[in-house]
């Protein structure tokens, strides 16, 4: 956005379906509900939403089907192939579509039965499909799932910087504490470092079971429009200060042919998003750092510059990322505990944080009244949160970031 659009567009509506492991319905049905919830949240009628965008991995329903279900008639739609880090990128593209006059208001959605249908972890239909192209260098060796695809990066990082499994586990502990104050979360139970260490290994030395996110059935929606259009809508607009969409490392899918492989895309994305947004690290009150696995969160904290390279292990064990800490991360519980949505729920959570209306166990959260008591089953609103940052992860080589302000 080169800075000139900073603050001129905003998120005005958010919507979700239940986070479940067995939705019992189609991605079309869930997508329609999530978009409808976001429209109601924003106070928008079908004729007001004239743009649709979505991302998928062959596991969703096209915009042109769901437009019928809600009586929408987009002047612009785009369903693209995508995954983690697409959320922020699509918000940026929605801003561009509106600025370019293609439409006025865009509903971005992601809908997937990631547990009950096409499993995001690679079991079932994905593992049973034929092997062609670049997969010929990976899948014949039993390398297929995301936790494996990224593991060479993190094993090497553990060697270079001396990270331990116990340190990683602190990320899960923090996010589980946050989830215990989130009625929507799939896994609300608080866990300890010992719980993580005692859960079974998935990939040594990178991930125990509790270091991995939760395959989830869910749909989500974010509605983007101009600050001008937002003036007479229902919610306090949350302004988009800057977006960087899917920046990459040298080599892309084959990044491990270059060094250092322990570096991730945030190294390139970070300086650009801070520059475009015109804010500094210390201005940020709350982060949404993608937690497909605990190690993706740690790697990104380092390369986005929240600490020095190699000091992520100190950052995640310091208490900074906990509710009540200096800059809490993934206050909903994120992918590790609320549910896996390819990044959408982390942006939705930060919109709620900046509105001041986190949907926790405080009785009057809808009025923005919070106790700021972060013990189990209580509050998860960050006091006076003004600026948030999301860091989406696609692969070690692909990342997006977005900074928002209330």
């Amino acid at each position: 956005m080169a800075g000139k659009l900073s603050g001129k567009y905003c998120i005005v509506g958010i919507g979700e379906t239940e986070y479940s492991r067995g939705s019992g319905r189609t991605t079309r049905a869930m997508g329609a509900e999530a978009i409808r919830n976001a429209m109601n949240d924003a106070g928008l009628k079908p004729e007001d939403v004239d743009g649709m965008m979505s991302y998928h991995g062959g596991d969703s329903t096209p915009s042109t089907a769901i437009q019928y279900d809600l009586g929408l008639r987009p002047n612009f739609y785009m369903d693209c192939s995508g995954g983690g880090s697409s959320t922020e990128a699509l918000v940026g593209l929605a801003v561009g579509a509106i600025e370019g006059g293609m439409c006025d208001t865009v509903a971005i959605f992601r809908s997937m039965n990631g547990y009950s249908q096409i499993r995001i972890g690679g079991t079932g239909v994905r593992a049973a499909s034929g092997i062609t192209g670049p997969e010929l260098f990976r899948r014949p060796y039993g390398l297929i799932s995301a936790v494996q695809t990224f593991a060479f990066t993190f094993t090497r990082h553990m060697m270079e910087y001396g990270v331990t499994s116990e340190q990683l586990a602190h990320i899960k502990v923090a996010h589980s504490n946050h989830a215990s104050n989130n009625p929507k979360a799939l896994m609300k139970q608080r866990v300890t470092v010992e719980d993580v260490m005692n859960s079974r290994w998935i990939i040594r030395p990178c991930a125990h079971l509790l270091d991995c996110c939760l395959e989830t059935d869910n749909a989500t929606c974010i509605i983007v429009t101009s600050a001008e259009r937002a003036k007479d809508l229902k919610q306090k607009p949350i302004f988009i200060l800057g977006v960087q969409g899917r920046g990459t490392k040298p080599g892309g899918d084959f990044h491990y042919q270059h060094g250092p492989i322990s570096r991730v895309a945030g190294h390139y994305v970070g300086p650009r998003v801070f520059d475009v947004a015109g804010v500094k690290h210390d201005d940020v009150d709350v982060t949404g750092c993608y937690d497909a696995f605990t190690y993706t969160t740690l790697l990104q904290f380092e390369d986005y510059g929240w600490c020095e390279k190699g000091e992520g292990k100190d950052y995640v064990t310091s208490g900074i990322i906990n509710l009540g800490g200096k800059r809490p991360n993934n206050t909903s519980g994120g992918h590790l505990c609320e549910g896996y949505t390819h990044g959408m729920n982390m942006v939705i959570e930060n919109v709620r944080q900046l509105r001041g209306t986190i949907d926790d166990y405080c009785p009057d959260w809808k009025e923005g009244k919070h106790t700021y008591d972060y013990s189990e089953g209580k509050c998860r609103q960050v006091k006076d949160a003004e600026i948030s940052m999301n860091m989406g992860w696609g692969t070690p080589a692909v990342g997006s970031a977005m900074i928002m302000r209330r």
Binding site: L136, P140, G142, M158, I203, Q257, I261
Partner: protein, 167 residues
């Protein structure tokens, strides 16, 4: 090449696969090859159509020694592929070949994914899997004509520090 079956997976290398067909044809003859740029002469570990350093689209297959070093690794304790369950826990290694190591830029290398196997072509014992250990290529020949390049530990002493995570 026809469609092959390997550990319950269907391997489909089409006749027009200009990236990978020649690699697996060479593997069947027990030769390990990478692509070499006809213009700048640099090798590349991923057999893509263009040269990452000079954009040239001209290339030829180039045989390499098959010797290298473990650059990174993972031990698969839980696999999502049913036909690999009898192997778990098993190692997958990222091997850096000796050729062109650290060239043309520091940190660059020709890197291949493989299983680390023992003398019986079974998964190597986890305690022996470590970054820095020396390895060499071996070939796993299937009955239907599909050959998969794999690696095993070599007798050479390590050239650098050896590291594995102590769980």
């Amino acid at each position: 090449m026809p469609v092959y079956e390997y550990r319950g997976q269907s391997i489909n290398i089409s006749e027009n696969d200009s990236e990978y067909l020649g690699y697996f044809e060479a593997a069947r003859e027990h030769r390990l090859v990478v692509k070499k740029c006809l213009d700048c002469g640099l090798l590349r570990g991923e057999p893509g159509p263009g040269c990452p350093w000079c954009t040239s689209l001209g290339w030829e297959w180039h045989e390499v020694s098959g010797k290298g070093t473990i650059y990174s690794y993972q031990i698969v304790a839980h696999t999502v592929v049913p036909a690999f369950r009898d192997w778990a826990p098993f190692p997958i290694v990222l091997v850096e070949l000796d050729e062109q190591s650290g060239q043309p830029n520091p940190g660059d290398g020709l890197r291949l994914t493989a299983n680390l196997l023992d003398g019986n072509m079974e998964p190597e014992n986890e305690e022996n899997v470590a970054i820095g250990r020396r390895v060499e290529v071996v070939y796993m020949d299937g009955e239907d004509g599909f050959t998969l390049p794999q690696f095993k530990l070599s007798n050479e002493p390590p050239r650098d520090q050896v590291w594995r995570y102590q769980t």
